[in-house]
């Protein structure tokens, strides 16, 4: 028995990817649950509009973090501010009577916190919840889940699909056939993209029809964001495939890129609830921007102009990641002075011969 344990220990020591996973994953989870996992939003961005804006702003509870006071604007501006995610709460302080308090229902946890607080204080008006008046979790989760599906299909499926060629040894066959590298890649990715699109359509349909998830905005803007996002996730998938020899390795890497995205993108735990030291990680993740875009379009009905930031971020990430992945993939396929790394050929032959003998 000891001999067995000794051998396993030695093998484990050398398996860097698994070791990395075993160490990094707990660290990640620690960070997340220590600093990121919280549903409590301390401060909620608020704008105060209308003639008596200044006075009202001074009297608001601490939780409402006033970022703009605009006496010249009215309810229309308030609705737009919420729709464009400039603020979560908009107070319209008219000349007479109670001020109107509008709350963005798409910013779910903030909204709930505000509504609870204001209900407890007499003298303050009942807040009016726009965009998800029922404060339903499904309304904001379903758009987020669409992002997860795209991450899944884009990353895991493409990583596996491409690694499969490498693992089975047929990549070399393809390299000899009169294909251009881009034909091979495009041909390989097309089925997965097709599936992703179908998946998306199904989820939208089910969400809207079954769960009453709103779809208030422009499908075109949504489609644009989805396409950009797909470029990013597929690019990550292809990149993973270029550094993986086996499907097992590809899945390990894919999991390591998916998990932080699911936990830190604002999908589950709102970004504002995360400690600032951790929040910046979220802004680097592609899923974060897609979730913002999806919620903005579907729940708030935000227009194209308001969504420029997420669209731009996705475009940049897409271009960089996808471009990098194609460059790497081409190296694998097209003739080059360096086929892979230094002693790959000897390793290839040594690798190929026993497995050949074993396979037949």
């Amino acid at each position: 028995m000891w001999a067995m344990a000794m051998k396993e220990f030695r093998q484990m020591r050398r398996d860097r990817r698994t070791l990395a996973m075993m160490i990094l994953l707990p660290v990640l989870l620690l960070v997340v649950f220590g600093y990121a996992a919280s549903f409590d939003v301390d401060r909620v961005k608020t704008v105060v509009l209308g003639p008596r804006a200044v006075q009202v702003a001074a009297a608001l509870p601490d939780r409402l973090d006033v970022v703009r006071v605009a006496p010249g604007e009215g309810r229309q501006a308030a609705v737009e501010a919420l729709r464009d995610a400039d603020a979560t709460v908009a107070v319209v302080a008219g000349d007479g009577g109670q001020p109107q308090v509008l709350v963005d229902g798409a910013d779910l946890f903030s909204a709930r916190a505000v509504v609870t607080e204001l209900r407890g204080r007499p003298g303050l008006p009942t807040p009016e919840v726009l965009f998800n008046p029922g404060l339903e979790t499904s309304a904001i989760m379903v758009p987020g889940l669409m992002g997860v599906v795209l991450v899944f299909v884009g990353t895991i499926a493409t990583a596996l699909g491409v690694v499969r060629e490498r693992q089975s040894g047929t990549l070399e066959q393809l390299a000899v056939m009169p294909f251009r590298a881009r034909d091979v890649l495009a041909g390989k990715l097309l089925p997965y993209l097709g599936v992703a699109v179908v998946d998306l359509a199904v989820i939208v349909a089910v969400g809207v029809l079954l769960f009453d998830v709103p779809f208030n905005g422009s499908p075109l803007v949504f489609a644009l964001g989805a396409v950009e996002f797909l470029f990013v996730t597929v690019g990550i998938g292809v990149l993973i495939s270029t550094v993986s020899e086996t499907q097992g390795q590809a899945i390990q890497l894919a999991i390591m890129t998916m998990l932080p995205q699911i936990l830190l993108s604002g999908l589950i735990f709102p970004l504002q609830a995360m400690a600032p030291g951790v929040r910046w990680i979220g802004y680097l993740l592609p899923l974060t921007w897609f979730v913002q875009l999806a919620r903005g379009v579907m729940v708030r009905g935000a227009p194209f102009e308001a969504l420029l930031l997420p669209l731009a971020m996705l475009a940049v990430l897409g271009a960089v990641v996808f471009g990098l992945s194609i460059a790497r993939f081409r190296r694998d396929l097209a003739p080059a002075g360096r086929h892979r790394d230094a002693d790959s050929d000897a390793a290839d032959q040594a690798e190929a011969a026993p497995s050949r003998a074993g396979a037949r």
């Binding site: 001999a3 051998k7 690798e351 003998a357 074993g358």
Partner: protein, 301 residues
């Protein structure tokens, strides 16, 4: 085709009294549902001899080996290792090197050695020459020739009485192959019995005896000369081999190209001559002794 083993004197080969068998299969049969993988096979390996087991894929070779190793129980017939049915006790006297070498690629040679020695409760084998220099190299980083030698050395580490080697020299160059066979022979000379499987018919020369399997049955057994017997092939010499090839191929004959001459195993020289004449191809046609490979192909079909 022909189910009778073609050898004089019975399954153990020539000699008045067969020496005690280290591994023995008598009428061994294995059925997997409808499939008859091994059909009444007789086989014996005695101390000091090298027996070659030759067969196509699907011939039952692998199943037979697994029965001898004790990994699979026979449906009928008898399998004995060192005189008793295969068991945990017999494993200690057995050395096995599978096709895939059975080494851990992410461990060094020395670590593999240590593991094997600990598993068998024996002392570690002593490495020599190039292998000793490669002690601390990961097996995955070794070229194939050294890997095979490492696998041998480790399998021999506990001084087994019986060696079972599956395709031991596949993929190595001629000099290394000769060296590997030296090691195999040396073990046999020291008293071990060796059972070798191979696709490589020219390696049959290296064995004392061969057993040829096809479709689960023994179709030939004995020394190489005995097995080839007086099988013949027709050799065709002609300046226009392409035309001759096409003509014979069209007629459905198993013609093959060897260098610049054509050979047709098991054919009638007159028929070949006629076909070529009809096709207008000038050629010299002669009957020659068949090679082992040609005999095998004829036997196996």
């Amino acid at each position: 085709m022909n189910a009778e083993p073609r050898s004089p004197g019975g399954p153990a080969g020539a000699g008045p009294e067969p020496p005690e068998a280290l591994a023995e299969a008598a009428g061994a049969t294995k059925r997997f549902g409808e499939l008859l993988a091994v059909d009444r096979v007789d086989l014996a390996v005695a101390a000091g001899e090298v027996v070659g087991l030759i067969g196509a894929n699907g011939s039952g070779k692998t199943t037979l080996i697994r029965m001898l190793l004790g990994l699979v129980a026979p449906t009928a017939g008898r399998v004995r290792l060192f005189g008793e049915p295969p068991s945990l006790g017999t494993r200690a006297r057995l050395g096995y090197v599978p096709q895939s070498l059975g080494l851990y690629e992410d461990l060094t040679v020395a670590e593999n050695l240590a593991f094997s020695a600990a598993a068998y409760g024996s002392s570690e084998a002593v490495l020599q020459g190039e292998l000793a220099e490669a002690r601390d190299v990961l097996v995955g980083d070794l070229p194939l020739g050294l890997r095979r030698r490492a696998a041998f050395a480790i399998a021999l580490g506990h001084h087994p009485d019986l060696l079972v080697l599956d395709e031991p020299t596949s993929g190595v160059d001629p000099l290394q192959r000769a060296r590997l066979w030296e090691t195999i022979r040396a073990s046999a000379e020291q008293g071990a019995g060796v059972l070798v499987t191979t696709h490589h018919l020219s390696e049959a020369e290296q064995c004392d005896r061969v057993v040829v399997l096809a479709s689960g049955r023994v179709v030939a057994a004995g020394t190489l000369d005995e097995v080839i017997g007086d099988a013949t092939a027709v050799e065709v010499r002609t300046p226009t081999w392409e035309a001759a090839f096409a003509a014979l191929d069209l007629a459905g004959l198993p013609v093959s190209l060897v260098g610049r001459t054509l050979r047709v195993p098991g054919a009638d020289p007159d028929r070949v001559g006629r076909l070529l004449a009809d096709a207008g191809v000038p050629a010299e046609v002669a009957s020659v002794a068949a090679s082992f490979e040609e005999t095998f192909v004829v036997l196996a079909s």
